[in-house]
Subunit: 244 residues, 4 copies
């Protein structure tokens, strides 16, 4: 049986979110997309939408922080007869919290979602890619990946852990043909989450003051297409208006 | 009852180790030292030695990765009638491991020891210091805090998480008079651990090729004594011969 | 008179070099290219080649370290009736030299070529772009931009100066619609210079061990096309085999 | 003739300045101090004050950006029969300037003062130290060494160049016993310059909101005293109140 190419994306939630957008983009490139997230309804909606525009998609309910879920996701990819061309870890959970009010559960959960899950996902993705010695593995970082600012200390700690993880993976697996990328999203994404959580901020920033979903996905696509002789490991993405 | 000054050090193990050395130094400065670690025997040996040289010390068995142990340690300090002038998180556990061979337990344990425990300890220390608006809180980092190199990716991820945690604490609590310090130990410490784990390396490096315990402690002391108008948050310590 | 779009590239030398390749790529995108460098012969050869493939190009003899030359280059662009869509500062001169053997002339020349010229060029480019509030300004950095390793200390000092310059420009002019990009080339470019200067190294690395010119140019193109809501300021480019 | 120990400090200006304070401190440690700067009057005043408190000092008029002046300074040290134990490059000139208003003279002058002069001084200091394989070489950096923020882009470019220079020197000469230190002063020094240039800012910050001169000098002293097995190459100094 001939194996086909796929993209595996975890952290897929709202239709107007980065996970869904990446899935749509990579489906548009002709890849079958496995979309994983915790909410079956949302996954089905996105898969349907992808199919309506001629793409193909498989929704897989999975919690990135549960090792077995992640293993099951990649097992499904394998059993369905797919190579993994692209794997994107797109889980991003942020909870602002002054340090003394941050409880152990919050600190741990942020680490599990932003870092431990990436460890599970990264290992599985590399295992799926290493035979062919090719594939692109994306991790989505944030401003906090580089700089810990209260009240985001716990989040920054987790994101810094993710950044180091991605960097170590790049050093270990680039020579084996696996392109590991850490994307620092420095700003707020113009998606459903921001619009629900802080509508005033969204309005105040204006359209180009927020990262447009398609604009982010375009860069992921360009980075995936890079020739192995000139790979990017880390880059920032920031609205032109955003102070930094 | 008049409260007295103390230093609280966690991660105290072998006599020829950084925890024990810091304890001895701070005891030499006239502070009562609380020394915490997992091994009661070792703690007693070190406490005895400190007392023999005129200092005073309280050994407290505590595992830094267990929140209750850390809480109990600081509760004891309080009940014994001490302020906390210095708190040092000196837990440092490193396990080299190629990424695909790193299991979840190892990845998690390294994070618990290098980062989560620091979160427990840091919160308790700040709570103990904030009333007086003074105190120095040390975190011991490593080369890997800045740079993830296989086979130390899991360790680097944990240490990067610690670094961000320390940075966020510094930003949040410096203005309240608490001096948060992240010390990057870039090299191998000339202590019992290195001599047991890689004796050949120790011999090859020669005396000044390894960080001398007293030399490290001298700098901790100098940083603790800094005037609040000119505090150091981060510094490296490295043998003069060490390539970097 | 309707103004047309152009790319202005300085540091154009050998046909098998990054400057010439960027010029060819941007000409392929339909931009008129102004190619500037010190050697008239080389510029004419490249301009001819661009014309033969349907592009249009103007060679301008200019030394990037001479302010008047740079001013003259942009004056010519203006007088010829062109907007500047892309400006690329591609001067890169590296001289390995142990510090005590580095003379003042070398230290100064490296700074002039890698940093001062970029200041001249950047100012002119921004002046040319600011009216329309659009344009992409590229600076080519190197491994040494981030890390000073002997015997490249003088080079690293100049490149670090360039990096800060680019970063300051990005902070100042991004909000005015000008996209300032700092590209860190981490490795050796497979071009005429490397083949002449260290042929053995080139052979040893093998094809994908060196950055392919077209591969680099593809990324410059992708970055130029980014939507303003998600701009990259800094990224690295590195052969997959390159240790880092 | 037995050679005696000395500290050589360049960038000595007002009595209430870092250069003068470092000189006073090192004289207090028993070192003869060579104090160099552009203003003879100021140098004599400081030398007199040092002598009155039992120290010994030689004023040398020298412009750090003039190679011959720097060479002459170190020649004098040699001819007077002194080793160099400490050398401190303390020239720090900052001119805020929006990029398009920054002229070539300003850009160049900032580089000469913050970076080129450090190259002259560093080479001479290393030449003076290398025979004995000991000595500490300080470079004074600033917030801008790490981060280019308008309107300080030109200053940041020069300071980034200095930082790389210091880093390259540390890598090259630490193994030869020379301790190279880069101190990042992150904040405003409570000295004559700040009081004259922005008195309102000084008042608003309050005493501990500015770096106290003695506090800075204490840390230089502690770093100089570090044992070679645990040297610091880079550290920050910041008022506890200073946001970062």
């Amino acid at each position: 049986m001939e194996q086909k190419c796929s993209a595996v994306i975890i952290g897929v939630g709202p239709e107007q979110g980065l996970g869904a957008t990446l899935a749509t983009f990579f489906a548009g490139e002709g890849l079958h997309v496995f979309i994983a997230g915790r909410c079956e309804d949302k996954l089905h909606k996105i898969a349907d939408k992808i199919r309506q525009t001629g793409g193909s998609a498989t929704p897989v309910v999975a919690d990135a922080t549960i090792e077995l879920d992640v293993a099951h996701l990649f097992k499904k990819v394998r059993l369905d007869g797919f190579w993994v061309d692209i794997a994107a870890y797109n889980v991003d959970s942020n909870i602002p919290s002054p340090l003394l009010e941050t409880d152990t559960e919050t600190f741990t959960k942020l680490w599990q979602q932003n870092c431990l899950g990436a460890f599970f996902f990264g290992k599985e993705a590399i295992n799926a890619m290493k035979e062919r010695q090719q594939g692109t593995l994306f991790f989505t970082g944030a401003t906090a990946s580089l700089r810990a600012k209260p009240p985001f200390t716990a989040f920054a700690s987790a994101k810094a852990g993710l950044r180091a993880l991605a960097q170590g993976m790049a050093r270990e697996f680039s020579p084996q043909g696996i392109h590991v990328v850490h994307v620092i999203i420095d700003g707020v994404i113009d998606g459903e989450r921001a619009r629900n959580q802080f509508p005033d901020y969204v309005r105040a920033k204006g359209k180009d003051g927020l990262l447009q979903l398609d604009a982010i996905a375009e860069t992921y696509r360009a980075i995936h297409k890079q020739h192995p002789s000139a790979w990017t490991h880390e880059l920032d993405l920031r609205p032109f208006k955003e102070p930094f």
